[in-house]
């Protein structure tokens, strides 16, 4: 086996015997491709209002019909998928960044710092997130931009990953190779980066997926209530408009059904990813040797 084959085998080792991981990654990839390729085929401009006649059922010209404002719904779905994915993953990344910083500080150094961080996290976790979000979103006068949305949602997704990472760091800190590293002359920050993080990669990945899931949930929740970037055709906003215009009562299934399907697919994909990563992180769940 040459080096390339060895590396390939190493990288894909995680995927063998792990149908959940493969399925999860496939679904997310499929959504991403749907967005990217779709944007090439269908012009995003058609997601704007008055691109076509309003309230048109699906036809050859408008594959998913149009909504009451004349948006081409196929374009809307394509653009919306991209937007929701972006908000979700970026907010997830920011949330994870905060979780890593706080989780490691809290777990490794312990003491007073740990008590404070832990206290804050625990308190924030008990506050109904959506209520807080609603208040924040309502307080922001003016237009909610995409970036603002990302920040608002990120602020809610970091708590649980912080706790997970802290718990893992607490366990790993007790392993004998940590005092060994100290005896080898390593300093604390070095130990965190070089010794702890590589072993925590599966948990960090799981934390990322967790943060992303929380972010997607939050963004769709807010948008469905109308507290999102109003001018952007995100999936959640589309649902909001559909509800506002009574699409369900009017039998305009082509308006509210596609975003629901995409959202369901996204959640199933994220869930399978989490389950698949769980298997990697917890060797007891892994299949055969």
């Amino acid at each position: 086996m040459n080096t390339f084959e060895k590396n390939w085998k190493g990288a894909t080792a995680y995927f063998r015997n792990n149908p959940k991981l493969i399925a999860g990654v496939s679904i997310i990839l499929a959504l991403v491709l749907f967005w990217l390729i779709g944007s090439l085929i269908v012009s995003p401009a058609r997601a704007q209002p008055i691109s076509g006649l309003p309230d048109q059922p699906p036809s050859l010209k408008y594959l998913l019909g149009t909504d009451s404002n004349g948006r081409d719904l196929l374009a809307v779905i394509i653009v919306g998928t991209g937007l929701t994915l972006r908000i979700g993953f970026l907010a997830g990344a920011i949330g994870l960044g905060i979780a890593i910083a706080l989780g490691f500080l809290s777990g490794y150094y312990g003491g007073f710092l740990d008590t404070i961080i832990r206290g804050v996290v625990d308190v924030l976790l008990t506050i109904p997130a959506l209520a807080v979000l609603v208040v924040i979103a309502a307080m922001i006068s003016g237009v909610i931009t995409l970036n603002l949305m990302i920040i608002i949602v990120a602020s809610l997704s970091w708590m649980l990953p912080t706790r997970t990472i802290r718990a893992q760091v607490l366990t790993m800190r007790e392993k004998a190779y940590i005092p060994m590293a100290k005896i080898s002359g390593m300093k604390n920050l070095e130990i965190i980066i070089k010794e702890l993080i590589p072993n925590l990669l599966p948990y960090l990945a799981a934390g990322f997926v967790g943060a992303t899931s929380a972010a997607v949930l939050a963004t769709i929740g807010l948008e469905a209530l109308g507290l999102g970037p109003q001018s952007l055709p995100t999936l959640g906003m589309t649902i909001f408009w559909a509800v506002s215009f009574s699409a369900m009562l009017r039998g305009m299934w082509w308006w509210w059904l596609p975003p629901v399907i995409i959202i369901a697919a996204l959640f199933v994909g994220l869930f399978l990813l989490t389950a698949g990563l769980d298997e990697i992180a917890n060797p007891k769940l892994r299949r055969v040797v």
Binding site: A176, Y177, P179, M180, A181, K182, G185, E195
Partner: protein
């Protein structure tokens, strides 16, 4: 005779604040010992669980601070060292831990454990030089670099992993190696090779070793002198030939007689000591072994016996020997045999 690492009248108390009563555990009480160089020595510390031997190792390595007393390296208090002094201490006092696998970060190959300290202590100027040093150390221990470098810890046997740790200790040219149960998790047939390596680096490189173990047999085989711990106290210390072959303290006698000898004609006798489970907390201020001692006298419950020097090279903490001269705890080095 230079004293390198020294524990002077060290006491370590672990406190747990319960809601109503503060429960304190005396892990070690008024313990003194020192490790010398010129001549180098191998000192054994024997004790069962609860004896305080693990706490001793952690104190000597500076991971925890003593409640009373002080741990000195080359005369300096290790808790108060400057950054440079601490780095020197870290390089010159190395350790071999019990679990041969857990000491390696499973993410990296075993090379990582060897290169890291070389790098941090600036012992090699280039990667080539580092690998040369590593190969030299491995070969000195009797390992083939081709069979060990580049492998992951789970690909090697427990014995190999442990020997690599010994090689690592040698690599840094320390003055002292603290070996904390180095062979208890290794197969019987591989133990000999590790002990051989330790003895070799003591003889060939003059590195002093502190060998901590609950296994009296291997401690006897490798050490020159021995300290027997029981519930945080030194109960007997001195020349290992005297202490093990002719134990005087009732606890040492119990320990030695409990070793399963591979001779069906020399079976265990029913012991004279009453079986007392050690989970009951003892509140008496006298000898800690009193409730299990077949020779206990009334004085033993109230008073803690001092160390009595019963031979030139032995001291026993037991009132049975009160006719011998008493020595203070920190004079324990007096009863150690020195190789000249």
């Amino acid at each position: 005779m230079t004293v390198l690492l020294e524990a002077r009248n060290v006491t370590k108390i672990f406190g747990s604040s319960g809601l109503i009563k503060k429960k304190e555990t005396f892990a070690l009480e008024d313990l003194s010992l020192f490790i010398t160089q010129n001549p180098s020595s191998i000192t054994g510390v024997a004790g069962e669980s609860g004896s305080g031997k693990t706490t001793l190792a952690r104190l000597l390595l500076g991971f925890i601070a003593p409640t009373r007393g002080v741990v000195l390296y080359k005369g300096r208090d290790i808790q108060k060292m400057s950054r440079d002094e601490k780095l020197e201490f870290r390089r010159e006092v190395q350790v071999v831990f019990q679990d041969p696998y857990e000491v390696y970060n499973p993410f990296y190959k075993v090379d990582h454990a060897l290169i890291t300290p070389l790098r941090k202590f600036h012992l090699a100027k280039s990667k080539t030089e580092a690998f040369n040093l590593i190969e030299g150390a491995l070969e000195a221990i009797g390992l083939h670099p081709s069979e060990t470098i580049g492998r992951y810890p789970h690909q090697l046997s427990g014995g190999q992993c442990q020997r690599i740790m010994v090689a690592r200790a040698l690599l840094l040219k320390p003055r002292v190696i603290i070996a904390d149960e180095p062979v208890s998790m290794v197969d019987a047939s591989l133990r000999a090779t590790i002990l051989k390596s330790l003895r070799k680096i003591n003889k060939d490189f003059g590195i002093s070793i502190l060998y901590i173990s609950h296994d009296l047999t291997t401690t006897y085989q490798i050490s020159d002198n021995i300290i027997v711990l029981y519930q945080g106290f030194v109960v007997e210390a001195g020349d290992v030939e005297l202490v093990i072959k002719n134990p005087q303290h009732p606890y040492t006698k119990l320990l030695v007689s409990s070793i399963p000898l591979p001779d069906p004609d020399k079976k265990w006798k029913q012991e004279r000591t009453p079986i007392v489970d050690q989970s009951s907390i003892k509140e008496n201020h006298g000898c800690k072994f009193e409730d299990r001692c077949p020779y206990a006298m009334s004085i033993c419950r109230k008073n803690l016996p001092p160390l009595y020097q019963t031979d030139r090279y032995r001291a026993v903490r037991c009132f049975l020997y009160k006719d011998s001269p008493a020595i203070p705890g920190d004079a324990i080095g007096e009863v150690f045999v020195r190789k000249e």
